[in-house]
Amino acid sequence: MVDTVIKLTGLKKEFVRKKEKQLVLDGITFSAKKNEIIGIMGPSGSGKTTLLKTIGGILPMDTGSLEIFGEDCTRKMPKSIKQRVGFVFQEHNLMPWRSVEENLKLPFEMYHLKDQKANQERIDEALEIVGLSDYRMALPQELSGGMMQRVGIARAMVLQPDLLLLDQPFGALDALTRKKLRLDFMRFFTSAQKTIVIVTNSIDEALLFSSRIIVLSEQPAKIERVVEVDIPFSQRTTEVAHDPQYNELRHQMIEIVSEQYRQNREEDCYED
């Protein structure tokens, strides 16, 4: 039994923008154990999404190596591995020509899983979890932003993946919806017995979900800090805001983030 789900070593990634090479990720190394929840934070444009897409096998890597479930995925991630990875995109990324239910059928079609009855059961279950059982025939564009995002999460879960990658899942939503969804999914994610990597730009979200937070630096991004969050998941409820340990971590995180912000500002000043 392999206990390490993700093993990423020395990931470097370059983009070519306007004929200029731009180093986005500069040597990222980390690993995730089974059932660990890892939060990834960093300034905007630091390559958080790029990092997550590389782990999900969507983007190729320039240098470095990647192992998922103990299998080498450096050059190309095999389809059998991709099948065990669920990806939630930043902005739901649903197909507007498919109804909610048909959107959830997509993963089964992609892997040629043809057991209609079993598939339907999984779809029903996923819709139940995200609370959208009454909207299976609706088209995505008929739903609100929060509902679309929940469909996106349901789609990532229908194949019951062992590894769930979430790219700012609640980022595009308004503050209230965001708060509500966060609490809705907190309980589910932490009890689902899955390895989860969640990219977020909210300190509260990172603290609420993760057992470990990786903070990236400005571009070209390196791992700047790793913060262990050793608050038991049972205590992470609406009441967590009054927990002294939580508040201490929160202060620590705010300091890290504002330190990054200050550095940026100083650099900007020098450039002038």
Binding site: G56, K82, Q83, N93, M95, W97, L106, P107, L139
Partner: protein
């Protein structure tokens, strides 16, 4: 049964509610037209009154106009119905290779922008005067406009969709049929709508130039005889034909494209 008939009645009342503004407009225009012709005593050769157009057109419809109209519709149908699938197929094939896209794009644009009228003499040298060959330029024009639009739909696929496909390790086949093709449907329908306009324009143009049948010929023939009300009637028939074609495409579009880009 009762509910069904009530539903039917509901549909009719909804139709009336939605379409009374254009209907009212039509009635007003016709009334104004009749009035002006009557009061100013406009000669019917210059502007015939609507009632005269309808009367003359219906009188000649069965004996003369019907065969012209059928000939025109036949050519449109052959050209359009073969041009559309060919255009979509061609765009699908070209889109598979970046090199092919670069090689073919300028050529397709030229074919779209080139007025068919100027190439018709060449066609005639090649294939002769048989009226069925009129479908060839129509086919060429419809196929090129559909190819152009479909190809642009295939090329401009959003990165997020390709990312989604890549996350599942989609095969080339899956990526095209499950992501790229449905995503391009709005553009494909844009091509189909333009194809309607193009095909009518072409057929009428060709009929003007050559042959002794078709609505284009009828317009020339009856204006030569100074039977202007029939000429106006011919124009009306061509307009209605185009509108019906457009309507069919729109209905299909409404069924398949339920989103906006």
């Amino acid at each position: 049964m009762k509910t069904k008939s009530m539903l039917h009645a509901n549909k009719i009342s909804k139709f009336l509610r939605n379409s009374w503004p254009p209907l009212l407009m039509l009635v007003l225009i016709i009334a104004l037209w009749e009035g002006i012709v009557y009061f100013f005593n406009v000669p019917y050769v210059v502007i015939p009154a609507p009632h005269l157009i309808v009367a003359e057109t219906t009188k000649y419809f069965k004996s003369e106009l019907l065969q012209h109209w059928l000939a025109t519709v036949k050519i449109i149908a052959i050209g359009y119905l073969s041009g559309v699938p060919f255009g979509i197929l061609l765009a699908s094939l070209i889109s598979q290779s970046k090199l092919a896209i670069r090689a073919f794009s300028p050529l397709i644009t030229v074919l779209v922008t080139l007025p068919t009228m100027v190439v018709i003499p060449i066609y005639m040298v090649w294939v002769g005067f048989d009226i069925n060959y009129r479908a060839i330029p129509v086919f060429m024009n419809v196929a090129s406009i559909v190819t152009l639009n479909t190809l642009s739909g295939f090329i401009n696929v959003e990165q997020r969709l390709l990312d989604l496909a890549e996350g599942y390790g989609a095969s080339r086949f899956q990526r095209f049929f499950k992501y790229i093709f449905p995503n391009a449907l709005p553009e494909i329908f844009m091509g189909l709508r333009l194809g309607c306009t193009f095909s009518i324009l072409n057929v009428i143009g060709i009929e003007f130039i050559t042959g002794k049948i078709g609505m284009g010929f009828a317009v020339q023939y009856f204006s030569g005889l100074l039977k202007m009300p029939i000429v106006w009637g011919c124009i009306l028939i061509v307009g209605i034909t185009g509108r019906c074609m457009f309507l069919i495409v729109q209905l299909l579009e409404k069924k398949f494209v339920t989103w906006t880009r």
